[in-house]
């Protein structure tokens, strides 16, 4: 499902990703861990074309990304198949939870209002927010907002979802709400890449763990291999 080969990226003359290779099978969950500034977010943003890279290649959900810029149309196709969930949620503040989830199916997939609505209602229910369809983001807790954001990503029925530190802005109680949702998705066979500082999350959700330090892969393997010896990096 994802194949990264010899990926390198410079930013302002500085190398932020260095000769990075990894692969992820359909239904797998990769956790990316490592200290701050190691390039985790940058890797994720390269995977859905939010940022270009300088060398190597990416194959994701059947799409090919090469170094340099890409046509808008290709990026839009990739992003329909590759969802993203952000640390700061980035919900659309002027819309209700339901409207946040409905928007992309309506304007990108051109579903009818009724279809988009029933899909969105189902997804809000799936993330445990059935009672909050009409709530505005500003009135929701952080955990609730992140769950709306996950529902919003799921609404496009992506083949891969990328999470960038989905629980880092949350207190432990809210973190575990979100963790439950991610575990539920993993059990359902959703392919995911999760950048996280939370080793409990990586331990429980991941099939594969990559440790990124200063733009290089330090170690990768099963959670047991990578996580046990590592002591609280970051």
């Amino acid at each position: 499902m994802i194949e990264v080969v010899a990926l390198s990226k410079n930013r302002g003359g500085k190398r932020v990703l260095e000769d990075l290779s990894l692969s992820l099978a359909e239904g797998g969950v990769t956790a990316v861990v490592g200290p701050s500034g190691g390039g985790k977010s940058t890797l994720l943003r390269c995977l859905n074309g939010l940022e270009p890279f300088d060398a190597g290649g990416i194959l994701i959900a059947g799409h090919q990304l090469t170094p340099g810029g890409h046509p808008h149309a290709l990026l839009e196709r990739i992003r329909r198949d590759v969802g993203m969930v952000f640390q700061q949620f980035n919900l659309f503040p002027q819309m209700t939870a339901l409207e946040n989830v409905m928007l992309a199916p309506r304007v990108v997939s051109r579903l009818s209002a009724a279809e988009a609505r029933s899909r969105a209602v189902g997804l809000l229910e799936r993330v445990g927010l059935d009672g909050f369809a009409q709530a505005r983001p500003a009135t929701l807790s952080g955990g609730q907002q992140q769950r709306v954001a996950i529902a919003r990503a799921l609404a496009m029925q992506p083949r891969v979802i990328l999470f960038d530190e989905p629980t880092s802005a949350l207190d432990p109680a809210m973190s575990s709400e979100v963790l439950e949702v991610i575990l539920d998705l993993a059990r359902g066979g959703q392919t995911m890449v999760v950048v996280t500082h939370d080793h409990a999350l990586a331990q429980r959700a991941a099939t594969h763990v990559v440790e990124l330090v200063a733009g290089r892969i330090q170690r990768q393997g099963s959670p047991a291999e990578v996580l046990i010896p590592a002591v609280g990096s970051g």
């Binding site: 939010l50 808008h72 992003r79 329909r80 659309f92 002027q94 928007l103 990108v108 919003r152 496009m156």
Partner: protein, 501 residues
């Protein structure tokens, strides 16, 4: 809070009433002051054109015209030098209260003027002449009584002139009368086809006939009267001295020589002036009568003000938003072009832009009706300011919003339309409302291209009735009544925005 504001407004209006009459009246000087100064300050509008007062085409630094000669002659009779003061024609009488001694500029003798000003004996007999394009359908005055090939005839006149009064009173004619700030403007508009005809003093048309060869006089002069020199009623000695000097130069033939020099039929002029008799003075109307007669006119023009601003502003926002989006997200080649548009539009006066739309476009075959030109001009002018506001607003929406939308597979345009613009619109609401109020007041500039809105109507009414202060208060109250609800609305909106966030 609201009570204090209302009280403040009342106090302000009261203050205006107190101060304005004094402020407008103190400066005029009587004959002794003129003599002490050694100068007779006379006012005219050189844009009004020849043969009255105009810049010498051979030496554009020099003012010339038969009234320049007349002013020189009168001043020398009074033993002083003449000094010229420029003013907008329909506002010349206002200058009398501001250090100008008299107005010599084709001011027609009317009962209203005799009531409001010190009017000299007549110095010139004029007649009104209808003129139209040689190749146009208008071939006699009588044809104005039935509609022309494209509906009502559009007839230009000089705002505030006898031609305007006469033509506006002719409800028997199928005409729309359009007021201009200069007679030359109206002739150009007849040539370019915006107007079907113009009405003006015959001496003006005779003077410019060569320059406006495509125009011809239609029918014989149909109404007429006399020009008078006006001075303030507060300077009776000066008024008397001017009148006596005039009598002397009429009697001894020096005035006739001026008219002969200007090819103005000197002998007929002097005969006509001798026949001129006193015109009775109209009685002053009460304030209630004044307001009752002026208010419907003012209200109708307030409607025009509302129409102008409510048509122009949405257009300005549309253009402005498009420019802002183009500059932030458009192709690289488009960005400097849009930036240039903003700089040019912001860097030139609205008045000039209106002139360009109204007077220059017809020269390349694109004659816009005045109302359309006015709305377009306001919209273009304000679009530059709105684009800058929207650019700031769009930039103020966090990039995370962009990334979230793009990560769902939305295109740049879909992202802007559904996610970014709605948020930017909320952010810029207060400055945009502010601009709407500003545009609302800027509509008064449109009178320069013949659109009669509230301020123009005020100045015409104020001059014809002489009730400058009273009508100013009524007009100001009308403006306030219209802009106040807007301010209240925008404050409400701001308050509601502060709530949830």
């Amino acid at each position: 809070m609201r009570g204090i504001r209302a009280a403040g407004a009342v106090a302000l209006v009261a203050l205006t009433c107190e101060l304005a009459p004094g402020a407008l009246r103190v400066v005029a000087a009587d004959l002794d002051a003129v003599e002490a100064r050694g100068e007779l300050v006379w006012a005219a509008d050189q844009e009004g054109g020849g043969p009255h007062v105009f810049l010498d085409p051979k030496d554009p630094r020099r003012l010339t015209g038969f009234e320049v000669d007349l002013a020189e002659l009168l001043a020398s009779e009074l033993g002083v030098r003449p000094r010229f003061q420029q003013g907008q024609w329909d506002r010349l009488p206002l200058l009398l209260d501001r250090s100008v001694d008299c107005v010599i500029n084709g001011i027609e003798l009317t009962p209203e003027r005799e009531r409001d000003y010190d009017c000299s004996r007549p110095y010139f007999a004029y007649a009104l002449q209808l003129l139209a394009r040689r190749d146009g359908p208008l071939d006699s005055f009588e044809r104005l009584a039935s509609p022309g090939p494209s509906g009502r005839w559009r007839v230009g006149v000089l705002t505030g002139s006898a031609a305007e009064t006469v033509m506006r009173s002719r409800s028997d004619l199928e005409i729309d009368v359009i007021g201009y700030d200069g007679t030359i403007d109206s002739m150009e508009q007849v040539v370019s086809g915006v107007l079907d005809a113009a009405v003006m003093d015959d001496c003006i048309f005779n003077f410019y006939a060569d320059r406006f060869a495509p125009l011809r006089a239609v029918g014989r002069p149909f109404a007429g009267g006399y020009y008078t020199i006006i001075s303030s009623r507060e300077t009776p000695a000066l008024g008397r001295a001017v009148d006596e000097a005039l009598g002397k130069i009429i009697a001894d033939g020096r005035l006739k020589r001026i008219y002969d020099r200007w090819d103005l039929a000197g002998r007929q002029q002097i005969l006509a002036l001798r026949d001129a008799s006193e015109i009775p003075v109209a009685s002053r109307r009460s304030l209630r009568q004044l307001v009752a007669s002026a208010l419907p006119l003012l209200l109708a023009s307030a409607g025009m003000t509302v129409l102008l601003s409510s048509a122009a502003f949405p257009l300005a926002i549309l253009i402005g938003l498009s420019i802002a989006i183009g500059r932030l997200h458009g192709p690289a080649w488009l960005r400097p072009i849009l930036a240039g548009y903003v700089e040019v539009v912001r860097g030139t006066p609205l008045m000039l832009q209106l002139y360009a739309l109204f007077f220059l476009l017809p020269k390349i075959g694109l004659a816009l009706p005045a109302l359309v030109a006015a709305i377009l001009g306001l919209a273009i002018n304000y679009s530059a300011y709105e684009s800058e506001i929207y650019r700031a607003g769009l930039k103020a929406v966090p990039t995370g919003q962009f990334e979230a939308a793009m990560s769902l597979g939305m295109t740049t345009w879909q992202t802007l339309r559904h996610v970014i613009i709605p948020q930017a619109v909320r952010l810029v609401m207060p400055p945009v409302t502010n601009d709407f109020i500003a545009l609302f007041k800027d509509t008064s500039v449109c009178s320069a291209i013949t659109v009669i809105e509230l301020t123009k109507r005020y100045s015409v009414l104020a001059l014809s009735t002489g009730r400058i202060v009273e009508l100013a208060v009524v007009t100001a109250l009308l403006y306030l009544a219209m802009s106040w609800p807007l301010s209240v609305l925008s404050r409400r909106f701001e308050a509601s925005q502060e709530g949830p966030h």
